[in-house]
Point group: C2
Chain length 190, copies 2
């Protein structure tokens, strides 16, 4: 997605070989028009797949997911992140480790909102090591729902998440694929 | 806003005299079309006010804020919530106590994204005791920015937040004002 790549080049900040900061338009400050265009692009790529629901994670996944949900005409569920959680019967839960924060947290979705009839599009802001995606896939599996695919705003293709999801047979659509952040420079894969 | 009131009546769950659960369309599962209509309503009420930025809080404020930002043509910043935070020079921070969770957390906004030239619309999903709104007002004050008004999706008018903000002279626009949740019933103020 050219517009997104241009935004990454103009407003993204390379903090290290591993870390790209996009808090100017995606992770802290949000550019609503860009989110609308991202939602449109996800909707186009996953049109006609019988998607009944979008699942994402708080907080940065919400804006692109809601814009995609608006275009696809389906509800969006955001998994909540808890540092500690008293387990309840009415929740699907899965643990996830964040490399960025070096902490483990629990993701949870209410069982009331997801069931075996659902065909789900996963959306997240970043795909790096794939831990968050794996936890979401686990939650959706607990509901017995099926997965239409995974929509990612920014993929760090040099980390292992994308390759693993490909191997597992998931359809992954990443709007910007970053090959490298070496030398303070963003290089895209295509 | 009639559509929102109807949604509260049909999909909201009164858990107690104090607590209305709206996780079917706002706080966990999100109805994107309703969010678009909410964004439209906020944009209409605050049109022509010279708003340069919308500020909200993760996670449930993001969807209505981004839809309003899309219509007003301005960026959205979501304050991040931290259980613990190492203070840094480039952050405005304010502490907030959550009655629902009975925990204190720190809200933070990067100083890079908000400055004295900004005229800010605050948006949040709920207004109850007003603690979150007060913390956001504090953050915006630290930036030296001015406040155009406060847009609230659901106001619990029987709690003190609204009255306090009125007394302080802020313009508050709440799309649904709840007078009472007594006896398991939602009563609206108007």
């Amino acid at each position: 997605m050219e517009l997104l790549k241009r935004k990454i080049m103009s407003d993204g900040v390379v903090l290290s070989d591993q870390v790209l900061k996009v808090d100017a338009f995606l992770n802290h400050q949000i550019d609503p028009l860009l989110m609308q265009q991202i939602g449109h692009e996800f909707a186009k790529r996953f049109a006609g797949q019988g998607i009944s629901k979008i699942v994402t994670i708080e907080a940065s996944g919400i804006a692109p997911a809601v814009m995609a949900g608006l275009e696809l005409g389906v509800p969006v569920i955001f998994a909540r992140k808890y540092q500690s959680l008293t387990l309840k019967d009415d929740l699907y839960t899965s643990t996830v480790f964040s490399f960025t924060k070096q902490t483990e947290s629990t993701l949870a979705i209410s069982s009331k909102h997801l069931n075996a009839q659902d065909h789900v599009l996963l959306i997240d802001d970043f795909l790096a090591n794939g831990h968050a995606a794996r936890a979401l896939i686990d939650l959706i599996g607990q509901a017995g729902a099926s997965i239409a695919g995974i929509g990612v705003v920014i993929e760090k293709s040099f980390q292992r998440g994308r390759a693993e999801l490909d191997e597992q047979g998931y359809r992954v659509e990443s709007l910007a694929r970053i090959q490298s952040l070496s030398g303070g420079q963003v290089s895209f894969l295509d």
